[in-house]
Amino acid sequence: MFGEKGYNLIKELARSEDNLPPYNSDLVNEISHEITKQFEENRDDAQNSTIDGSESLLLNTIRIRNGASKRNIRCLMAYHYNRLKCLRTMRWEFGSILPPDIKANLSSDELEWFSNYSKTLVNYMKSIGEDGINLAVDLKPPKALYIEVQCLVDYGRFELSDGTMLLLKKNSRHYLPRSECEELIRQGVFKHIS
């Protein structure tokens, strides 16, 4: 039946929730070829269907193929669109630098889109107010100025905005200004201890 490949592509993506599976260029190419083929076949049949001038049954064939290629196109577009949506969320959750194993699953066009999105976003944030505003922090209503955090990884040196230098070792505990560690908590470097 027509549309099986597109269906498989979509199913693969739908199953994976917020985990982006490797870009399936093989299936994408196969579907693209199917679309091109359907287009060519339809063009040929369209010419043949007019030779005798009567309402050729070939028009039925053309309609079926037309529907099938529309479906294929929709699957392709939806596949790519939803992957970008996921990439977009990743920009907000991981920051502008993605973990290498996630990067490995992206196509080169996706990587390019990601860095463009990053740029667009940064430009926007810079343009707000007089000095710009970082929208990637202050995600939750603040309750206190200082919070206690535990370091989950050997992070190394970390400089606070007042110039204090900290050495962040795995399992070390720190009492820090909330505003300075929110991003590291989001990125999984710190754990907020209540």
């Binding site: 693209s32 679309i35 091109t36 287009f39 529309k70 196109i73 929709r74 392709l76 577009m77 790519h80 970008l84 977009r88 066009d109 889109w113 463009n116 999105y117 667009t120 976003l121 430009n123 926007y124 343009s127 707000i128 107010g129 007089e130 000095d131 505003i133 970082n134 929208l135 922090v137 202050d138 995600l139 939750k140 209503p141 603040p142 206190a144 100025l145 909330r178 505003s179």
Partner: protein, 222 residues
């Protein structure tokens, strides 16, 4: 630590100056809160309130200067700082919500903006948001052109022809600031039941019925 009231001139000088004759920072804050909550719950993007955001950002900025000058021994420093952080949260949350709507419905929003400009109405997006929307839309366009360029004849299935619209027939909770009479509860139906809502009353209703009332400030989403 006196606040600089001249910050408020922007608001007072803005086009609808009659609405904002004398407005205190506390009142701007109230406006910001309403604006934030409305934006959170409205399915579509609402007209921007850049003037309110700008005043809050200025207030934050001048307050931060003042805070720097306070001694670390002054326990009120924490209170000042926490208020600033709370305001910053509200502003960023508001702007983030709008960005998400812009990204989700970018083609639809840009088309609507174009119509507004044609009709001589003001844009819903702020200048900065409009630029963001255009950049975002262009990058989507470029990306999809690349993906679909294997077949040059597929001219009509482009990114910008497949519009995602917000569902304005979403249900929302609202609180009325005035008495509203004869409000249809289903605007898609010409024979819709009509309801009266008393001032101060809270109801759940289809957003499309109260879209205009939200925009002109007669009701607040809650």
């Amino acid at each position: 630590m006196d606040l600089d009231d001249t910050n408020l001139e922007d608001l007072n000088d803005s086009n609808d100056s009659e609405d904002y004759v004398h407005i205190t920072p506390a009142e701007v804050l109230e406006l910001m809160e309403e604006t934030w909550v409305n934006e959170k719950f409205a399915p579509e993007i609402l007209p921007n309130k850049t003037e309110v955001v700008d005043i809050i950002l200025e207030q934050i900025k001048s307050m931060e200067v003042n805070i720097k000058n306070l001694s670390n021994d002054d326990f009120t420093k924490n209170i000042y700082q926490l208020e600033v952080d709370k305001l910053r949260f509200m502003v960023t949350s508001y702007l983030r919500t709008r960005l998400e709507k812009i990204e989700s419905y970018v083609v639809h929003i840009l088309k609507e903006e174009e119509k507004r400009v044609e009709k001589g109405e003001s844009k819903y997006l702020s200048e900065q948001e409009y630029k963001f929307a255009q950049d975002y839309s262009r990058s989507m366009d470029r990306y999809f052109n690349k993906i679909m360029n294997f077949c040059p004849n597929l001219t009509s299935d482009t990114w910008s022809s497949k519009v995602i619209e917000p569902n304005n027939n979403s249900f929302v909770f609202m609180k009325s600031k005035k008495t509203i009479e004869g409000l249809p509860i289903d605007i898609t139906n010409a024979d819709s039941d009509l309801v009266d809502i008393k001032s101060g009353s809270r109801v759940i209703i289809c957003y499309s019925s109260i879209e205009e009332l939200v925009k002109n400030g007669d009701v607040n989403l809650i």
